[in-house]
Amino acid sequence: MTVEALEADRGQAGKIRSRWSPYVSTVRYLVLFALACFFLMPVYVMVVTALKDSVEVSVPGMWELPQRLSLESFQAAWDKPAIRRGFVNSVLLAVPASLISSMLGAANGFVLAKWRFPGANIVFPLILFGMFIPYQAVLIPLTRFMTDLNLRGGNDPTGGLFGLTLIHIIYGLPITTLIFRSYFAGISDEIIESSQVDGAGMLRTFFFVALPVAPPAFGVSMIWQFTSVWNDFLFGFVMTSTQGWPITIGLNNIANVQTIPFNEAMASALLASLPTLLVYVVLGRFFMRGLMAGALKG
């Protein structure tokens, strides 16, 4: 036997395996599976109920699978103005709020990580501080302020949606700044310096060198921002009037009405949660991409 073969052999035997180990891992997976089922129960009920037609829906039969698939409840939900208008409003709110917030966060993060200026060590913690201020704490001053600016629902032609977008852009800045700062901190200083020596100033270094490698950070930042803006209830409730209601308010309003069939409520909830899922699926693939490959030695 060659030395290599011996080494390989020892490598195989190196992991000590007890007689019970196959059972141990089976039990481990069973436990995990049971826990997963437990947590997925509400989702299951939501999906099966949404797919039933109105005659089939009943509380005792809520665990049963639908006899025949029906999309009637989705149609009914979509026909409700609170849901359809809410959906459109939420898209109009969440898309610009997450895009603009991420763009600004990218600029902030770049400057704080790679273009240090005097006082950067004070500015960054101050921005981060914004992350730890709960919505409730700023609610009353914010309401007063937006009312004074005529950006709160009622007087505003967009029903407060424009003002709400502004609020979410600004409220998202701490987290997007943090995401981009951490990301850009991982980029080699030499690439930034190389671009400077090549004749690019701050803006051109940002646009030509830093932004092209930032899609993973955009992925994270957009997913985070989109989800939190889409799911926000409190600001939406306070800042908008009926025509500016985002879908979270609409969902709450139809669920509060006693007469609504369960299947329509569940279908509405599913509709309301689809966009965040979609954003995750579309942007999630940017996460793991090695965009820096080849820049440095090897």
Partner: protein, 402 residues
Amino acid sequence: MVTEKTAKAEQPDKTSTIGPAGIRLERVSKRFRGGVTAVDEVDLEVQPGEFVVLVGPSGCGKSTVLRMIAGLEDVSAGRVYIGDRDVTNELPQRRDVAMVFQSYALYPRMTVRRNLGFGLRMRGTPRAERERRVAEVAQVLGLDHLLDRRPAALSGGQRQRVAMGRAIVREPKAFLMDEPLSNLDAKLRVSMRAQLSLLHQRLGATTVYVTHDQIEAMTLGQRVAVLRDGSLQQYDTPQRLFREPVNLFVAAFIGSPSMNFVQGSVSGGTADLAGVRVPVPAGTPLAGADRQVIIGVRPTAMALATANGWPRLTVEPGIVEDLGDERYVIFDVDAPQVDTDATRAAVAARSADETSLLATERARFTVRLPTDVPVSVGEPLALSVNPDRLHFFDPQTGAALG
């Protein structure tokens, strides 16, 4: 790689541009926050078209000097001139220098073509002109078939050439290179070194090159600046650094294998080198002195004893290293070894494993001998010392004497 044809094509273009500029540092210092002085009042003048190497152990401030020339580091005191222009407070993008980084620092999302053209694009060179120059440089560096690749799809050597090409294509006032070869494997490094030399001959560009490798410094530099702890020790041609080091540090740092040192004394016109009287060159102040000194002997300053009248020294070889056409013989001499900060710093900079494994009080010497006479460990060997090639240093200050 650099073909005759393209080098000629380069010529008319070179004359039409402003051409290389000199660089001048006047008492330049760098103090970092926290009070560390990385560079201490360095004066340095680089002639237009000259290839200057900054060399020294790690942490000696050589990279900081380079970064201050590039504008990537603020200057704490002193002035920096490129050409006739004072650029001390100028932004890097306005200095018109090109830099090659140790990590290459290629733009990862750009193709080789766009990497090469980026500097020209940022300076507003028209598209047609840009494409012509990129194509030209790509051909010189043998990158033409790689132009549409991204850096990730290149080998280490190819990335290195792209980094080099990105600097060349700009035709800047000066090239700054920060250990550009240190990430290549040993073989590639030697061939790139030769190509760098060729390239400099062709382009005639002012170049400041930073390295910790004294062989790189000696082979590439027209002049070499040796730095230690942020201050300039000696700035001279490689020949003079080797022949006339101004102090113990330079003497120990330059040359491979390094210079041998031993404690000794001078009196009555002769030096006591491990019990052997060696005449001190007449007419020097040292000839009349009576004092303790450190004596430095290059490994090539000793030879097998012949009847040439040189003082003789009989030694007992401890280690014999045969390299084919030359042979290193290592032995202890009967005199105390030299262990000053300067020699230690120089040795540590070379490589950690050059320090001796077996501690010894006696000075250890290495000599280079031809291979035609057999030498064996333990057998007494008669050597002669070339008295003209001894170096004397002050034991306190380390400064060269005589």
